[in-house]
Structure formats: structure tokens, C-alpha cells
């Protein structure tokens, strides 16, 4: 046999073997399962790194006036510990879980956008080293994980640490937004027949709702980071009080992201608990609808509570009370969940497997953390314990005692599915008890330390009564946590090699991911089982006595709604809209607070900008006409209209550039005053979006030249059209806010 026929004979097997094995296969993979595992491994690696940073912190704080590390090192340690744990551990872990599980749970073959998925995974892998490069580039960021201004500004932070922090978080933010878009489109469009939205496994439902929070919150972070970077590198004044900027505005912006962020972290954890507890109680979850509904309530309310991080700023009695009320309100839907999970246990048949142990510990610990959280809403208490170790204790009770415990439960629960092998139960129990004892030892005493007056982020402390002994207890606990983590990693490695074979459904669970081999084949399912309820496998095992004749129920297939590509683009422009809203708010705030309107009135030419606007609006018209041409099958018309759009867009950009040059010539620059800062930032980012739009249009034009468009519709054209119209709509708002407002001020 010659090579060719050998290849033909083995044709199907050989290329696939080459592709699916080895490191290259993983790097080039578009398979959501492999990408999910990449996320998870990244998260575990950084858990160890962040944990070591925590150990350094605890060793330094073990005794009063300790000199284990210098204050500067310590400040880098706690900044990187917080940043790492939130952005490089929890977020990758919960997103990674979602990326692995969501397609399986809904009976799909993969995510809606596999390439976007891969991009997101590798951006996370890149962002970590980018952030950590700061250690050898002059010092890691050292202003805390929320980088309050003006400490994070020049001249107070002259090194590049904060800049690496900004860039690392920026990359991570983009990755997370991409994942959110992917989740939304996947869950809406790729569910298997019978998997209605009201039957979704709660992990997938929570991931779905979570994705909307991400779309609305991450752009706020990105906008804030952009403004801070502009301050630091281009001489802007957004957050520098010495030049009219506002330190408080940074806090408002950051916490408008930061508070929803903690819900972004916790909602998938809630999803894990909602899966694990019923399975190991052998009982359907209590109150599925309330858990699903309360998730939406939490998502909604999470955006209205942010200033509870700012009660000590002195915002005013009325604002303080309203934020306190909103913060108390959000405890209600969270409490509903806790109640329902606990009641699920009641009357069940509980199996104390390792995932269940972690889940039950979650219930108590997260409730504890939630209660101390409510205590912060009692404002005078906040006025005592904010930014003390009581706060550190609270945040670790919800983030570690809650989220990380849930993540452990997830690992022990789904590792068999991912690898085909069971994790060792013995090692798992060691892992659990070391963590349970270690965690509570470390963090319970910190409540007391805070009430004794110990502030957070102090590299050392005076030898006041009991401060030393409680800190020592806390440090001992940290070592137990370290030991437990080592046991966990060892368990992962050893069980991967020699764990007991798992089979399809080792836990006798009920959701779709357990209806396929472990690990699942590349296409996930050879056959998706019929879905008639929220527990498909349970329904299969317990068929109802009577069944209405199949297909008798009328099919409610309506006219097909939005396509997958358009949905994704709409989600994207939703997030971009939030980005612009923040920049517009900054512009508007300084218009009033710093009277930038008077400068605007003096230096801007609204009429000329208005003419420029007309070009941009016309380009929207030509884009629409392009779509119409394609619908009629007129490909030359299509090309012509796309070209017209590009030309009009370029004319707009040219007009912008001319205006900018004129302004800079008159010494109106981004660094001169707040008008310059806010004006150039807002118009600059808009111009950037126009520029990107032109690149997309050029790509379309190129594709059109090669005859790639087939009448009557093209997803690519529609998607770019949506983006282009969005950019124009943003300009209308920007034009009104900047130019028309300046006319009113005149």
C-alpha cells in the first residue's frame, strides 16, 4: 500500500490523532472543554501564587512590630493578593466552570463562538504574567486592589506598578466580557429541544444571569481604568484633587463595578451549590422558581448598592440612608436562596461526599459572612468597622468561606466528568477538614481584631493587648489552609493518574452533563436524551404512568427571532454603551463641578462639528442602503454603498482630526485642564470606535470583492451594520452632551 491509500484507509483516524493530542492540540483547541480546563488550571496556579502572597502577609503580621518583610514589600503583597485572588483565581475558575459545563448542561455541542472562547482563555493566561511582570519592572502595584486615587496617581505612585495593574485588569476585563457574550448567545440559541429556559439547570441559569451583570459592570471598570491610565500617562486630571479632579469620583466609578463584581463571583458559586446539594440529598431543589427569580433580583439590586463601600466618605445623610436600605434589601433574595438550599437538605437522604461537605460548610459560612455584611448596612457600625479587620473577616467569609468552598465542591463534583476518574475521597476529606478548620481559625478572630481597632492594610501593628495573640492564631490558620491546598493539588495530580474510573454518572445526578461518557467525546453527546423537565435523567428513570401522545401539543414555533451573530453583537454594543455612559457621566460631572462648560463654549465650534456629524449620520444611511442592495441581490450596489460608508466615516474622522489639531494648537490639550481631559477622552474613544468600524467595513469590502456575499442576507453585514449604527448613535449623544450643551451654556 502506498502512502496515499494508507492515508485514505486510515484517513479519518490519523489527522484527528495528530490534532487532538499533544501540547499543540491544546494551544490550538477551540473545544470548550479544553478551554474550560485551561481556565481552571490557570485559576489553580494563581490560587497557589495568591496563597503564597497571603502567607507572606500572615507571617509578617504574626507578631507585633515584625520585620519579616519591608512595608513596601508588604504593600505589594496585599495588593497582589487581592488582585490575584479576584481577577486571576475566582473569575477564571467560575468562568472556566461555566465554559466547561454550560454546553453540556444544555445539550449543545460547543459554545456559540468557539474562537471568542479561545481568545478569552488565552487572554487570561496572558494577563497573569502581564500583571506579575511588574515585580521585575520596578515593583508590583502597591495601592491596594482597588487603587484609590489620588494614591494611585502621580506623584504618589511614580513606579509602573499601577500601570501594569491597569493593563492586566483591562485584558482580563475584555476576556470576561467576551465570555459573557458567549454565554448569553449559547444559552439562548443552542439549547437542545425540550430544554426550555425555565428548565435550565440552576448552574446554567445563574451563569446566564451573571453574564448580564458582567456586560453591565465590566465596562465600568474598563472605563475607569482608561481614565486612570490617561491621568497617569497623559497628564489627565480625572481623579487628581490637586488639579480639580475628584478622588471621590474614582470611588463611585470603581465601586459601581466593584460591587456587582462580587456578585459576578458569587452567582456561579450559588449555581454550584444549587447543583450539589440536591444531588447529595437525593432530592430536587426546594423552590427552583424562587432561586431562579431571586437571582434576577440580586442582579438588578447589585447595581444600586455600591456606595455602601463609601459610608465613611461623608456623602450626606440622605444618600447614606438610601444606600443602606438598598443594601439591606439585597439581603432578602440572597436569604431566600440560603433558606431554600437548607430546606432542600430537610427530608432528604444526605450523602456526605466531599463535594457535599464543602457545600454544607458553604451554607453556614456564607450565611455568617452575609450577616456581617448586613451589619455594615447599619451605618454607624460601618462607621466603626469599615476598613478594619472586621471587614477583612467579612469579605473572606463570603469570598473564601463561600465562593472558594463552592469551587472546591465543584472540583470534587465535576472532576470525574472532566477526567473520567474520581478524586480520592480520603484526600478530599483531608482537604475539607484542613480547609474548614484552617479557614475559620484564620478569619473568625479577625472579626475581633477589627473590633479591637486594628485597621486593614497595615504592615505591622503596635503591641496592644491581644492583638499579637489573635494575629498569631490567624497565621496558624493560614498554614492549615496552605496544607489543605497542597493536599488538594496533590489529589488532583494523583487522581488524574490513578483515580478510580468514574463512569458516566458516578453521583447518580440528573442533569445532562451526566448523560454522556466521562470525559465527554468532542461532540459532547452522540445522542441527547429527551428533556421533559428539570431533571432529565431522573425523568428517564421514572417515566410518568401516562403520557400524552408525543407531538400532540401544538408546536409554538414562532417566526425565528434574532440570529446568533446579531444577538452577540447586540450584547457587545450593550457593554460598549455602558462604557460610553461612564465617560459621558465623567464629562457631565466636570461640566458642573469644574465648569468645563465655559471652556467648551469658548473653544468649540458646534456648527462645524455639526457638519461633521452629518457625514457620520449619512454613513449610517449608506450602510442601511448596503443592506437593502444585498437584499435585492445587487452586489455591485452593495460594494458601492459599503465604499460610500467607508468614505463618509473617513471624512468624519478626518474632520475630528482637524478639530483636534486646531484645539491642540490653541493649547487645549488633554493635560491642560479638565475640559481637555474629559473632551479628548470622550471623543477619542468614540473616534477609536469609528476607526475600528472602518477596519471592519474594509474587511467587508474585501470579502465583497471576492464575491463572498450571497443574497438576501449576510450575518456579517448585519453585525457590522449594528455596530456602525451604534457608533453613530453614540455620536449623537456625545455631540449633544459636548457641543449642544456648550451652546446652552453660552
Amino acid at each position: 500500500m502506498n502512502h496515499a491509500s494508507m492515508a485514505v484507509a486510515a484517513g479519518v483516524a490519523e489527522p484527528r490523532e495528530r490534532e487532538t493530542r499533544g501540547l499543540y492540540a491544546w494551544i490550538a483547541s477551540l473545544d470548550h472543554k479544553q478551554l474550560g480546563i485551561i481556565y481552571l488550571i490557570t485559576g489553580i496556579i494563581f490560587l497557589i501564587v495568591g496563597g503564597m502572597e497571603a502567607l507572606v502577609i500572615r507571617m509578617q503580621l504574626a507578631t507585633p512590630r515584625n520585620t519579616f518583610v519591608s512595608p513596601d514589600t508588604f504593600n505589594q503583597m496585599f495588593t497582589m493578593h487581592g488582585t490575584t485572588m479576584i481577577f486571576l483565581v475566582v473569575i477564571p475558575l467560575v468562568i472556566g466552570l461555566g465554559i466547561y459545563l454550560v454546553p453540556l448542561q444544555i445539550g449543545a455541542r460547543d459554545m456559540a463562538y468557539p474562537r471568542l472562547n479561545a481568545l478569552g482563555a488565552w487572554l487570561v493566561v496572558l494577563a497573569g504574567p502581564l500583571l506579575y511582570y511588574s515585580f521585575i519592572a520596578g515593583g508590583a502595584p502597591n495601592a491596594g486592589w482597588f487603587s484609590y486615587a489620588p494614591l494611585s496617581e502621580r506623584p504618589y505612585s511614580m513606579g509602573t506598578g499601577i500601570d501594569y495593574w491597569i493593563l492586566g485588569l483591562f485584558v482580563l476585563g475584555i476576556s470576561t466580557i467576551g465570555a459573557a457574550i458567549n454565554f448569553i448567545v449559547t444559552i439562548i440559541k443552542l439549547r437542545a429541544p425540550g430544554m426550555t429556559m425555565t428548565r435550565l439547570p440552576l448552574f446554567t441559569w445563574m451563569t446566564f444571569v451573571n453574564s448580564f451583570i458582567i456586560l453591565a459592570a465590566l465596562p465600568v471598570l474598563n472605563a475607569s481604568l482608561a481614565m486612570l491610565l490617561i491621568d497617569r500617562q497623559l497628564g489627565g486630571h480625572f481623579f487628581t484633587p490637586q488639579s480639580g479632579g475628584s478622588a471621590i469620583l474614582w470611588q463611585h466609578f470603581f465601586w459601581s463595578f466593584g460591587h456587582p463584581e462580587v456578585y459576578i463571583m458569587v452567582l456561579p458559586a450559588f449555581g454550584v451549590i444549587s447543583e450539589v446539594i440536591p444531588v447529595f440529598s437525593r432530592k430536587a431543589i426546594f423552590g427552583y422558581e424562587f432561586i431562579a427569580g431571586s437571582t434576577v433580583a440580586i442582579a438588578f439590586l447589585s447595581f444600586s448598592v455600591w456606595a455602601h463601600h463609601m459610608f465613611v466618605v461623608g456623602l450626606g445623610r440622605a444618600a447614606d440612608i438610601f444606600f443602606a436600605i438598598a443594601s439591606m434589601l439585597i439581603a432578602i433574595p440572597t436569604g431566600v436562596k440560603i433558606l431554600n438550599w437548607s430546606v432542600t437538605l430537610w427530608g432528604g437522604a444526605i450523602r456526605f461526599t466531599t463535594p457535599m461537605l464543602f457545600a454544607m460548610a458553604f451554607l453556614v459560612q456564607f450565611t455568617f459572612g452575609g450577616i456581617t455584611g448586613v451589619s455594615f448596612a447599619a451605618i454607624p457600625l460601618d462607621w466603626q468597622v469599615e476598613d478594619s479587620y472586621y471587614l477583612v473577616a467579612h469579605l473572606h467569609y463570603v469570598a473564601v468561606g463561600g465562593i472558594v468552598f463552592a469551587v472546591f465542591a465543584a472540583f470534587y463534583y465535576w472532576f470525574p466528568k472532566m477526567t473520567g476518574r474520581m478524586l480520592s475521597e480520603t484526600l478530599g476529606k483531608w482537604n475539607f477538614w484542613l480547609w474548614f478548620v484552617g479557614f475559620n481559625l484564620t478569619f473568625f478572630v479577625q472579626h475581633i481584631l477589627g473590633l479591637l481597632g486594628m485597621p486593614r492594610r497595615v504592615w505591622t501593628y503596635p503591641d496592644l493587648p491581644h492583638w499579637g495573640s489573635y494575629n498569631m492564631i490567624s497565621t496558624v490558620g493560614a498554614y492549615l489552609l496552605a496544607a489543605g491546598t497542597l493536599v488538594f493539588v496533590y489529589n488532583l495530580i494523583v487522581s488524574f493518574r490513578r483515580g478510580a474510573p468514574a463512569g458516566d454518572n458516578p453521583w447518580h445526578a440528573w442533569t445532562l452533563e451526566w448523560a454522556t461518557p466521562s470525559p465527554p467525546p468532542e461532540e459532547n453527546f452522540t445522542l441527547v436524551p429527551p428533556i421533559r423537565g428539570r431533571r432529565p435523567l431522573w425523568d428517564l428513570a421514572h417515566p410518568p404512568a401516562e403520557r400524552a401522545s408525543a407531538g400532540a401539543r401544538g408546536q409554538r414555533r414562532e417566526a425565528s427571532a434574532i440570529g446568533g451573530a446579531e444577538l452577540g453583537m447586540l450584547a457587545f454594543i450593550g457593554s460598549e454603551a455602558v462604557f460610553f455612559v461612564i465617560l459621558i457621566i465623567a464629562y457631565g460631572y466636570y461640566h458642573e463641578a469644574a465648569h468645563t462648560g465655559t471652556v467648551a463654549a469658548r473653544v468649540l465650534d458646534p456648527a462645524r462639528a455639526g457638519v461633521n456629524t452629518l457625514f457620520l449620520l449619512a454613513s449610517s444611511g449608506t450602510m442601511w442602503l448596503a443592506g437593502k442592495s444585498l437584499a435585492r441581490g445587487n452586489t455591485t450596489g452593495l460594494l458601492r454603498w459599503i465604499a460610500a460608508t467607508i468614505v463618509l466615516g473617513a471624512v468624519f474622522l478626518f474632520g475630528q482630526a482637524r478639530e483636534w489639531t486646531a484645539l491642540i494648537g490653541r493649547n487645549v490639550t488633554i493635560s491642560r485642564d479638565l475640559f481637555g481631559t474629559t473632551f479628548f477622552t470622550l471623543t477619542g474613544f468614540h473616534g477609536l470606535h469609528v476607526f475600528l468600524g472602518l477596519l471592519l467595513l474594509l474587511m467587508l469590502f474585501g470579502l465583497g470583492l471576492r464575491g463572498q456575499f450571497k443574497a438576501p442576507r449576510s450575518a456579517g453585514l448585519e453585525v457590522v451594520g449594528i455596530y456602525w449604527h451604534f457608533v453613530d448613535a453614540v455620536w449623537i449623544v456625545v455631540y449633544s452632551v459636548i457641543y449642544l450643551w456648550s451652546v446652552l451654556v453660552r
Binding site: 439562548i188 440559541k189 443552542l190 439549547r191 429541544p193 425540550g194 430544554m195 426550555t196 429556559m197 425555565t198 428548565r199 422558581e289 431562579a292 427569580g293 434576577v296 433580583a297 438588578f300 439590586l301 447595581f303 444600586s304 450626606g316 445623610r317 440622605a318 444618600a319 438610601f322 436600605i325 438598598a326 434589601l329 429527551p530 428533556i531 421533559r532 423537565g533 410518568p544 401516562e546 403520557r547 400524552a548 401522545s549 408525543a550 407531538g551 400532540a552 401539543r553 408546536q555 409554538r556 414555533r557 414562532e558 417566526a559 425565528s560 427571532a561 434574532i562 440570529g563 446568533g564 455612559v581 457621566i585 457631565g588 460631572y589 458642573e592
Partner: protein, 283 residues
């Protein structure tokens, strides 16, 4: 001065409001017969709230003294009265009206979500522009126009969510986005008002104290002009937002109840395909 005395003094009996509310209630009862359905309860409740909003001391306080009181009035007109009125309309009436083709076309044009959202939110934002807001306070006719526009456009806003006709209603997910976007818009407006400099609405800085209650308001109740403006903005933001949240939870409750009902009555595969979640749902 006690609160009761304030109420007595400040309660104006506006003939136009009384006549209007009686006509509305009377017309409804006449059209449907005075039956005690939950529709009737909702509608009459809506009329009562409408009356209280437009005629009670709230109106007097809001027109002269307190921005926050005026805000409460507007919130009632936009967020409470229209939903109640809509919930009070029996589907049968609308079905009958829709048989007239012109009415049906008008309904589908005005009932489109884009129209409802745009008009509802747009009207709210527009009337808060200081120039227009002050004009409404200064001229009675403009004020009537303002209130009528609030009522009318808010009915259009709530129609795709709470309207009596299933087909005209948004599917659950789009409905949630619709309401969230509205909450966002009103929150931004509320935030701007809360944090803006005092004197955004200069009318309230020095009220004409015909009732002699200004000392009570400023000193006993502690509502200085800047606290008043702050509270007004906060009312729009948080309680306003809560109403939208309750509506969202209502949409979800209806969604899950319907799904469960279908699951119990069918037993076979549910042929939902992709994209259906965005299409209108029956029920």
C-alpha cells in the same frame, strides 16, 4: 402645627381632578357592570391613587414647597397608576376594540415596545429638564399637559409588559431587559438630580408660603432645599427602581407559572427551538 392640620390646610379640592376621576371610574363601572373582579379592584385602586396623587396635600406641597413631594406625585403617575389601570382592563374589551381594523392598527403601532419605551422614558426625561420643569410649575396649562403626558405615555410604556393582550406582550426575557433599561434610565436621571448642585430647580429655593408651613418643613422635617433635592433624586432612583424590580419579578413569576402549568398538562417533548425564548409567549 400637627401633621393633621397641615393636611387639612393643604388639601385642595380640584374640580377638574374630581370630575376626571369620577368619570374614569364611572365609565369603567358602566362599561363593565359593577362586578367585583380582580380587574375592577385594580382599576378602582388606580383611580383612587390617581386622585390622591393629583388632589391631596401631595399636590400642594409638590407645586409650591417641596421637590421631593412633586417627585412622589410623578412617580405615582408614572409607576403606580398606569399599571393599576392596565391591570384593570379586561382582555375581552381590548379584543372587542381590536376587531375594528383602524383601532387594531393604531394599537399595534402604539403598542410596539420601542414606542412605549421611547415615549415613556423620553417624556420623563424631557420634563425634568429644568427649563421645562419650571415652565410646568409656572403655568397651570403646561402643568396639566405634563401630567396628562405622563399618564398617557406611561400607559404606552406599561402596555408591552402588563397589557391585557398576550400577543401584544413581550416575551419574558425581552420584557426583563425592557424594564431593566427603564430602571437604568430613571436611575441615571435620579443620580444626576441627587448629586447635582442644589438649585437645579430654582423654583423650590424660596417658596411662597401661603399656608404658613415653611418653618415646619424646613426645621421640623429637616427638608432644606439641598436635602429636598437629594431626597427627590433618591426617590426616583431607589423606590422607582424597586417598582421596576417588582415588575420584573412579576414577569418572571408569570413565566414560571405558565411553564409549570404546561409541563404538568403536557408530558411529551416540548418542541422549543432556538430563538423561541425571544418570541412572545402565550399566557
Amino acid at each position: 402645627m400637627t401633621v393633621w392640620q397641615v393636611i387639612q390646610r393643604a388639601w385642595t379640592w380640584e374640580p377638574s381632578v374630581i370630575v376626571g376621576c369620577l368619570a374614569l371610574a364611572g365609565g369603567y363601572l358602566a362599561a363593565g357592570g359593577a362586578r367585583r373582579t380582580h380587574h375592577a379592584v385594580a382599576f378602582i385602586a388606580g383611580v383612587i391613587v390617581l386622585f390622591l396623587a393629583l388632589d391631596s396635600p401631595l399636590d400642594t406641597l409638590g407645586d409650591t414647597y417641596l421637590f421631593s413631594a412633586h417627585m412622589v406625585q410623578h412617580l405615582l403617575l408614572i409607576l403606580i397608576v398606569p399599571p393599576l389601570l392596565l391591570l384593570g382592563v379586561p382582555p375581552a374589551w381590548v379584543e372587542r376594540a381590536r376587531r375594528v381594523s383602524r383601532v387594531r392598527r393604531l394599537m399595534s403601532a402604539l403598542g410596539a415596545p420601542r414606542v412605549g419605551w421611547g415615549l415613556g422614558i423620553g417624556t420623563m426625561v424631557l420634563w425634568h429638564v429644568p427649563v421645562l420643569y419650571t415652565a410646568a410649575l409656572a403655568h397651570g396649562s403646561v402643568h396639566v399637559l405634563e401630567h396628562l403626558s405622563f399618564l398617557a405615555t406611561s400607559v404606552l410604556f406599561w402596555w408591552p409588559v402588563l397589557g391585557p393582550i398576550d400577543d401584544a406582550r413581550l416575551a419574558p426575557l425581552p420584557a426583563i431587559l425592557y424594564l431593566t433599561a427603564a430602571a437604568l434610565a430613571s436611575s441615571i436621571l435620579g443620580i444626576v438630580i441627587t448629586f447635582a448642585q442644589v438649585g437645579l430647580y430654582p423654583f423650590y429655593l424660596l417658596p411662597v408660603d401661603r399656608l404658613g408651613i415653611e418653618p415646619l418643613i424646613r426645621n421640623v422635617w429637616g427638608l432644606s432645599p439641598d436635602v429636598d433635592q437629594e431626597v427627590g433624586g433618591l426617590l426616583m432612583w431607589i423606590p422607582g427602581g424597586l417598582v421596576y424590580l417588582c415588575a420584573i419579578l412579576g414577569v418572571m413569576s408569570r413565566w414560571y407559572r405558565t411553564a409549570e402549568h404546561e409541563e404538568r398538562s403536557s408530558g411529551s417533548d416540548d418542541d422549543r427551538r432556538d430563538g423561541d425564548v425571544l418570541a412572545p409567549v402565550k399566557g
